[in-house]
């Protein structure tokens, strides 16, 4: 058997047992496990080939690319291969812009309705359940000048390397904290890039907190890898530590990185600055779908509320992988399998006993895979200075160009949370829909109010969470009651010219 590729919305079925969103390790594994249990599965993904961001481009990667990116990258091949051999339907370059309970105008509400766009057309499909495996994105890194051309995320450089074989050609600085920082530095050095400095913003105090988890870490796979990477990077590149301030400067584009550390302030002429301070769950789809979430202090982000079977607060929606809280690629793949098994169980394809039997070995590996995670979370938790910008000039909302100063200056109007702030300043109203400012705005408000971010809350995220044109929406099924609600009268009954309508 092999996956059924879907290249147009007209190829989609009316209804699937399971819709999986995202073709990273979690989504691929969830779709595979569910399909292997006999569910009809549709996997939708933004990109042209499976793998997500971590295994981006794995199906086309040359031997040279694989060797450059290392064993962890190549591990994606097995997950992708198993998925491609499954009976799932696979829609590449398909965006899922909404998921909501299916509520027909007449008849029983059941399952979900999802808005899917593919090749310039939108379609509403139904699914009995959904698993959101939307992965992670890099945490906002709001420093002065981070909007300048020439300042990019570390992940973007990896994606450029994975998908297009591009490596930085000019003076490159990598700044921030997190396991990816040294991995990327080592990959770029290996590929011959001119990395002139690694600016490590890891706060010193983290080490003490992380030590509590050190034993687990040393026993974990992360431990050895991390030590090797550090040693390798140190051999080749200047590493700047004890950083208290960081700024990207330039006129219309980056020209230098200004870094303040124990030794004073230095200006490093730079062509490309790659920023990274860890990854956070990509929340937009789960929030827009109504899934509850809460503040996760250790990961300094909101994470959706999920139980041990990946079930969210919404009855038919599960979440797998980093989208539910950062667990890394290996953990995500295992978590995805659990989510797929849980879906099969909830839809009656597996008994509870079968589910548990199949899940037991997965859970055992997952436990060991996650052993070093608390250490990593503590060690690389970015400092307040780089999450909650003190400099009033620093842009927080890149889309609407709202600064930290403007946000703070609006607090005296009695703002309690990000939604009121959004109404006042438009932060979060741009095309990125708050993905690059949501956490920062919440944390600034929390700091100003002197309360925990969980008490402040997050943006109300609205659909569509992916770009969909008005034209695409206009072509969706209409109904007489909807026409009456808008136009006041129905001149031509819809049933005559909209055979697709679910009236």
């Amino acid at each position: 058997m092999s996956v059924h590729p879907v290249s147009a919305v007209s190829d989609l079925e009316e209804i699937y047992d399971l819709l999986v969103v995202g073709a990273g390790p979690a989504g691929l594994s969830a779709a595979t496990a569910a399909a292997e249990c006999g569910l009809s599965v549709l996997l939708c993904d933004d990109n042209g080939s499976p793998g997500g961001q971590i295994y981006r481009g794995i199906t086309e990667a040359s031997a040279a690319t694989k060797s450059r990116l290392g064993k962890d990258y190549a591990a994606g091949e097995g997950i992708v291969t198993r998925f491609l051999a499954s009976s799932a339907s696979y829609a590449a370059r398909a965006s899922v812009w909404s998921i909501a309970p299916h509520e027909p105008e007449t008849g029983e509400a059941s399952g979900l309705e999802a808005g899917v766009s593919l090749a310039g057309a939108a379609r509403l499909i139904r699914a009995r359940r959904a698993i959101l495996a939307t992965g992670a994105l890099e945490r906002p890194f709001p420093i002065p000048g981070w909007t300048l051309p020439g300042v990019m995320t570390a992940g973007s450089a990896q994606i450029a390397m994975k998908t297009a074989g591009l490596v930085p050609s000019g003076r490159t600085v990598i700044a921030g904290t997190g396991p990816l920082l040294y991995l990327l530095a080592s990959q770029l050095i290996g590929a011959g890039a001119s990395v002139i400095a690694v600016i490590d913003t890891t706060p010193n105090g983290n080490k003490r907190r992380a030590l509590a988890h050190a034993i687990d870490f040393v026993r974990s796979a992360y431990g050895l890898k991390g030590a090797r990477l550090l040693a390798q990077v140190h051999r080749h590149v200047r590493v700047i530590r004890n950083v208290t301030a960081l700024e990207a400067a330039g006129n219309g584009g980056l020209s230098e990185v200004v870094v303040t550390h124990r030794g004073g302030t230095e200006r490093l002429p730079t062509d490309l600055l790659l920023l990274h301070q860890g990854i956070v769950p990509n929340l937009n789809l789960s929030l827009a779908s109504g899934c509850a979430s809460g503040w996760n202090e250790r990961q300094a982000t909101f994470t959706p509320t999920v139980d041990e079977w990946c079930q969210t607060s919404m009855p038919d929606i599960g979440i797998a992988g980093d989208a539910g809280g950062i667990i890394g690629a290996e953990g995500s793949a295992l978590h995805g399998t659990l989510a797929g098994l849980a879906a099969a169980w909830r839809l009656g394809r597996l008994s509870e006993r079968e589910r548990d039997e199949r899940a037991a070995p997965v859970r055992a590996i997952l436990r060991s895979a996650l052993r070093g995670r608390p250490f990593i979370d503590e060690l690389f938790r970015p400092s307040d200075d780089f999450r909650i910008p003190a400099n009033p000039e620093t842009i927080v909302c890149r889309c609407e160009e709202v600064t930290a100063g403007a946000i703070r200056a609006t607090m005296p109007l009695g703002v309690r949370g990000p939604n009121q702030m959004k109404a006042y300043l438009r932060c979060g109203m741009g095309p990125c829909q708050g993905r690059l400012c949501g956490l920062t705005v919440t944390e600034i408000i929390a700091q100003e109010r002197g309360v925990a971010p969980g008490e402040v809350g997050y943006y109300n995220v609205r659909t569509p969470i992916k770009p969909v044109t008005l034209k695409e929406l206009a072509a969706l099924p209409q109904s007489d009651s909807a026409i009456k609600a808008v136009a006041g009268i129905v001149e031509k009954p819809v049933s005559a010219n909209h055979p697709q309508s679910h009236v």
Binding site: A423, P431, L470, L473, I483
Partner: protein, 371 residues
């Protein structure tokens, strides 16, 4: 209770406009509001300052609306002067675009009936066919039947207006208390005491401007604010180059560049989730009106509840049994903002809603119930 004269319950556009109006008359105002996720009609407000078509069945509402449109320039100027925030008001004349001949005819009939009401303050309007509409709105689509134009219609930026009211309130030292949901109101010895999980607070006067919350609160002070469910859905697009320089009844390009679309009314208060068939109709009709916007990406779709009384007209009323308690309820919070800030606030400060506004008393609903 010596340090405050009036409690305003509700800090949305309506409450803020009245509170500001009271504060600028020298009253010491406290605004009690809910928190970050309060239902806010202002967040879904279309931003029209709209006269045409309003007042069918109640000519006083037409006159009331016209009066507010006429006061708007001074409201805009004063807010800008006081806060430096420009509420984005302009009055270039507005269009109701009609997609079909039947829609156009229905619009014409409604305007004729409206303006045929005795004692109505007539205002200018024009019925335009396709060609005439196209001459003024070059972006309209080929199937548009025509439009109704009135030079009195205008628009503002509702969120900046909302912020300007709050900034002006703040500047005048009025107290704004978020996370102060009011659960109970009592009246004793001429003082009103409001109560919530946060504590209690008293003043000699109280204004209920709590939107759908008014239905619950009004009876506590001898008032009645019946509302009917009305859900409206809004689509907002990404920013695009200016193409629409006039407000249209259901489509507006805001001054930041985005296009806002919304004209649905559903008799439900079920939830905030948009319904896709309604989204499809909104998008389809908007595109037939202005085909150019079809390529725009949609950034947000959501639904909000309107504050609609059973006959659709506002309520402005003082309690007969608890003097000093006022209820205000209406949709069109932007159109009427100038009336609320200047006129209604003035009446409340004086302690009396004048007989000329008695048509907006909720007693009209008692009568119809008895009939």
């Amino acid at each position: 209770m010596t340090d405050r004269d009036v409690l305003v319950v509700g800090g949305g556009l309506l409450g803020a406009s009245i509170a500001w109006g009271l504060a600028r008359l020298g009253l010491r105002v406290v605004v009690l509001d809910e928190g970050d996720t309060a239902f806010r009609a202002a967040r879904a407000n279309f931003g029209l300052v709209w006269v045409q078509g309003k007042g069918l069945g109640k000519l006083e509402y037409s006159n009331w609306t016209q009066a507010s449109a006429a006061l708007w320039p001074s409201l805009s100027d004063e807010l800008k002067r006081e806060t430096g925030i420009d509420p984005g008001f302009s009055q270039p004349g507005g269009f109701s675009i009609r997609l079909t001949e039947l829609e156009l005819q229905r619009g014409v009939d409604a305007m004729n009936t409206l303006q045929g009401q005795p004692n109505i303050a007539r205002y200018p309007y024009e019925i335009l066919n396709h060609r005439e509409t196209k001459a003024r709105l070059p972006a309209i689509g080929p199937t548009v039947a025509g439009s109704i134009y009135s030079p009195l219609d205008g628009h503002a930026n509702p969120l900046r207006l909302y912020r300007a009211f709050h900034a002006a309130l703040h500047k005048m030292g009025a107290a704004y208390l978020p996370d102060h949901r009011v659960e109970r109101i009592s009246h004793q010895d001429g003082a009103f005491t409001v109560e919530g999980p946060w504590g209690t607070m008293s003043a000699g006067r109280i204004v209920l401007a709590a939107g759908i919350g008014n239905t619950r609160l009004a009876p506590m002070v001898g008032l009645n604010v019946p509302l009917v469910p009305s859900r409206g859905q809004i689509i907002v697009t990404e920013k695009t180059m200016p193409f629409l320089h006039h407000p249209v009844g259901n489509i507006r390009q805001v001054d930041e560049g985005g296009v806002i679309i919304g004209e649905s009314k559903e008799a439900t208060m079920d939830h905030h989730r948009p319904r896709t068939p309604v989204t499809a109709v909104l998008a389809d009709r908007a595109m037939r009106m202005f085909p150019i916007i079809g390529e725009l990406n949609v950034v947000r779709i959501w639904a909000a509840f309107r504050i609609i009384t059973p006959d659709g007209f506002p309520i402005y009323e003082q309690s007969r049994t608890c003097r000093g308690a006022f209820a205000v309820a209406c949709h069109s919070g932007v159109t009427l903002a100038a009336n609320h800030a200047f006129t209604i606030a003035g009446h409340i400060a004086q302690g009396e809603i004048p007989a000329s506004l008695s048509t907006f008393s909720s007693e009209r609903f008692d009568v119809s119930a008895a009939a």
